[in-house]
Amino acid sequence: MQTELSVNGRPVKVEAAPDTPLLWVLRDELGLTGTKYGCGMGLCGACVVHVAGQPVRTCVTPVSAVAGKPITTVEGVERDRLGRTVQEAWLAMGVPQCGYCQAGQIMSAVALLRRSPHPTDADIDSAMAGNICRCGTYPRIRAAIHRAAGQLRGSP
């Protein structure tokens, strides 16, 4: 079945069974491999993208549910200042180790900062609890979110 999607600002048509998780459409059909498989059950957050600005777990989201809605993946996150600021904070704090989960972490962090520009540690815990990092970069993720929030406010 053909589905029309809008990914990173570009309209695309994909052939996929309607129950196909968006994850596999992005990765296998569109070649957007920045979005990662980690669990297939919405447990780890490696596959988070934004659909209409909201963080969504693509491994449990059928492609039919997102037809026509704007999708942003990690490959498109640098298109706005918020996304770039988070990416820069990730590099400045030396967050990534293996890096595999970091696309999902960044997408969750960007969504957090969009709705909550001054997140507390509790806000961060709550927003990021769904993203697993097996390398254990959590303390640096927390620090990078605070740093990005500070920069977006215009303070250092």
Binding site: G40, V77, P96, C98, Y100, A129, I132, C135, G136
Partner: protein, 773 residues
């Protein structure tokens, strides 16, 4: 081991077994027998030289400079998050006097004859390749200087190569490295003795944390390419139904419904390799499809009938009883000084305890995945593997090819932690491509596949007994460690830890106790056993460091002072005097066990944590210190235990001495990560078997630490060192002290002694788990 002692880190063992198997098939293969334990009449070989491939330090292998002044540095060790692509490259760049922004890192394919040892485990990359990569950079710089001197027709002593230019001091003429690249390549390689290394005071990158990550920008933009990300024209996606029980055999399968799933192209049986499993594919039925989802749906539609075989009765609860029985009987003695049994019989204040570590799965965020294609009789594989050459050997053997016809490209590893040292998944990709007449096939393991078909960290039961003298110090120490050996994965019937396994933190404990007896019971392995970050150090460290805390409390002493007293004054202990003939494969002269450094990390961690400060109700501090992979680590964990047993960790202080620090920020990152992984081991991780099957499947029933549970603050304190000291390991040594430090902190906070991992969060069970004291 056929009467031969095991070699370094098990690597030779693994490769020998594989190559031995190939030899049976008619291929004449000869593995250089070296290793760290000398046979009679053989001089011992240590360090990288003991590994197949050894060391290569030819600059033409690792450095190439383009006319546009880009410096390409080849890194031959796989990147799995430890930062080695950055750290080895910056070592080369520093000695080369390259400008880091112009350095590009390329990843070497599997080729140990060309690059030297690529087997990336045992926290060895910097230990073994810091000096060789310095020589690479320094030799390349000399060749550039030589090329400039030749072009200007001046003595080489008049030119200086720095900041990616060569300068003629007399005239001020300059040439960029890019201008000189072609001529420099034709310069003679400097004789090893002529290669002049920098004075460490002149280092620009080494020890500075000033270099941007080689991969960071790609990672945050989603451009970094892992094993799951390979894409080739016409590629099929495969998932495999494997036997749920190790050694199980496929009796019958019906693929009709699977083939009816839209997108499914073929269903292919993969033959099971006879046990032992080694790193051959487990066998089963593969579903190949035009996309991953169709392959997953197709696999769900398979009708499969298995014969579980002898392991179908395996039950990890019953196995625990076997372990418990084993540690309560005399066993093979691996270290004996004085007469511990007599001292224990004589009586006095006697303490005994048993500690349990369950099986663990690695659960790297990227599950195993690999891609293969065969074109014109040549196979190419793309895989996230810690052991590239072993992967190449495996594919060569499985396809009946010759080594030059097999290329293994090493992708980034999305975490590995020891799992990806064993490349069974790459073998699957190669076999499936062959079955599809060479068409590219990517094998994807689901999380369930990963959790259920891992090479598990061995379950372990540790029993310790001690008798305290009138001063509260132990007069006798008996330690029995019962765990399946990793050797059983390669050698049918192997039982009990070998000396590379009890050599991890059990035998090499430098405590001043007059009577010491260490024993290893023979217990079988009924699952695939592998290596998990820091390996047997996890169980040994947990048991010994918990037991010392118990002894201190029994003696009415402060655990810090008690442990320091037991370690005694600073001295350099020859590991052989502790019956440790292995010493992580390193020279006992170059790498003695330095109790001064062990003391220093304990003193530093406790100082930074303000050990002894008054604690609020429900709060406690716990200390543990371990020596592993030639590095010294001490952790002080502050815990808060709520009324319902909820555990929170406000702060961890870790003092670490790995000798010289090449990339301090990445060392800190490794220590932070090891702390969090160690806390998952302590609080969460447990794999169990019933009817031979792993009972866990995904992050719902094999949970790992998440952000809210992680320590709010992890403070890593790196001990000052010198580049005159040989480097120690970094990736693993941070993990062993974490579980005991946490459990000791919980004891301090609550009086509850926890001897069984994982402890859960919130804590559950009776006030005193495990055996009584």
């Amino acid at each position: 081991m056929s009467g031969r002692k095991p070699g370094g880190e098990g690597t030779l063992t693994r490769r020998e077994v594989l190559k031995g198997a190939a030899a049976l098939g008619g291929l004449a293969l000869c593995v250089r027998r070296s290793g760290t334990i000398a046979l009679a009449g053989e001089a011992p070989v240590y360090g990288a030289a003991a590994f197949p491939g050894g060391v290569v330090d030819n600059p033409l292998v690792f450095v190439s400079i383009r006319p546009d002044d880009t410096v390409l540095v080849t890194v031959h060790r796989p990147e799995m998050g430890q930062g080695i692509r950055t750290s080895l490259a910056l070592v080369v760049a520093d000695e080369l006097e390259a400008e880091w922004p112009r350095v590009r890192v390329t990843q070497a394919p599997a080729d140990e004859a060309r690059y030297g040892s690529q087997d990336t485990d045992g926290s060895r990359s910097m230990r073994h390749f810091f000096e060789p990569m310095r020589r690479v950079g320094a030799a390349a710089r000399m060749m550039l200087a030589g090329a400039a001197a030749a072009r200007w027709d001046v003595p080489v002593s008049e030119v200086i190569a720095e900041r990616q230019q060569v300068l003629h001091r007399g005239t001020g003429r300059r040439l960029s490295y890019g201008d000189l690249a072609l001529e420099a390549m034709r310069q003679p390689l400097p004789e090893p003795k002529q290669v002049r290394l920098k004075d460490p005071a002149q280092f620009r990158y080494i020890g500075k944390s000033s270099t941007r990550s080689a991969d960071g920008a790609d990672i945050v933009a989603g451009r970094a390419v892992y094993g799951t990300d390979t894409r080739l024209d016409g590629m099929l996606h495969a998932v495999v139904a494997r036997p749920a029980v190790l050694g199980g055999k496929l009796v019958h399968y019906d693929a009709q419904a699977a083939l009816a799933v839209p997108g499914v192209v073929r269903v292919v049986e993969i033959a099971a390799h006879p046990m032992p499993a080694q790193y051959y594919p487990l066998g089963g039925v593969a579903v190949l499809a035009t996309n991953t989802w169709a392959a997953i749906k197709g696999r769900e539609a398979l009708k499969l009938q298995w014969d579980d075989g002898a392991n179908g009765s395996y039950d990890s609860r019953r196995f625990e009883a076997i372990l418990r029985s084993a540690v309560r009987q005399p066993a093979k003695v691996v270290r004996n000084q004085g007469d511990a049994m007599a001292a224990l019989r004589k009586g006095g204040r006697r303490i005994e305890a048993e500690y349990y570590l369950p099986f663990l799965a690695h659960a790297s965020m990227e599950p195993p995945a690999a891609t293969a294609r065969i074109v014109g009789g040549r196979c190419e594989v793309w895989a996230p593997v810690q052991a590239p050459q072993a992967t190449r050997d495996l594919v060569t053997s499985l396809l009946g090819m010759k080594e030059p016809d097999v290329t293994v490209h090493v992708t980034l590893l999305g975490g590995a932690f020891g799992r990806k040292s064993l490349p069974d998944f790459a073998g699957e990709a190669a076999l499936l491509s062959k079955a599809m007449q060479g068409r590219p096939v990517r094998v994807m393991w689901t999380r369930e596949d990963d959790i259920r078909h891992d090479y598990y960290q061995a379950v372990s039961l540790e029993r310790l007994e001690a008798v305290l003298g009138p001063d509260g110090m132990p007069l006798a120490w008996l330690h029995r460690s019962a765990a399946p050996t990793e050797n059983a994965t390669f050698e049918a019937g192997a039982e009990g830890e070998d000396q590379t396994e009890y050599g991890m933190g059990m035998i090499n404990v430098p405590l001043r106790i007059p009577n010491v007896r260490l024993e290893i019971p023979n217990v079988p392995a009924r699952t695939r056993i592998g290596w998990f970050r820091s390996v047997y150090n996890i169980a040994h460290g947990f048991a010994i460091q918990s037991f010392l805390d118990e002894l201190a409390h029994a003696a009415g002493r402060d655990p810090r002072a008690y442990q320091l007293d037991l370690i005694g004054p600073p001295r350099r202990i020859d590991p052989r005097s502790l019956s440790d003939e292995w010493n992580y494969g390193e020279s006992p002269v170059l790498y003695p066990l330095d109790t001064g450094r062990l003391r220093a990390v304990i003193e530093r961690a406790t100082l930074e944590a303000r050990w002894g400060r008054p604690m609020a109700k429900g709060h406690g501090l716990g200390l543990a210190a371990t020596y592993s992979f030639m590095s010294y680590a001490a952790a002080v964990i502050e815990v808060r235990v709520g009324a319902g047993g909820e555990i929170a960790i406000p702060r961890v202080d870790i003092a670490f001495d790995c000798g010289p620090q090449v990339n301090p920020d990445r060392i800190r990152a490794q220590l932070e990560g090891a702390c969090i992984m160690g806390l998952t081991v302590a609080m969460r991780g447990e794999i169990t078997f019933k009817e031979g099957r792993v009972q866990q499947s995904n992050f719902n029933d094999y949970p790992v630490l998440r952000m809210p549970e992680a320590p709010r603050e992890i403070r890593v304190h790196l001990q000052p060192s010198s580049f005159a000291v040989p480097p120690g390991g970094v990736g693993e040594p941070g993990l062993p002290p974490i579980a005991p430090a946490l459990c000791n902190a919980i004891f301090a906070a609550t009086g509850r002694r926890l001897r069984r991992l994982p402890i859960g969060n919130p804590l559950s069970g009776p006030a005193a788990e495990g055996s009584s004291t």
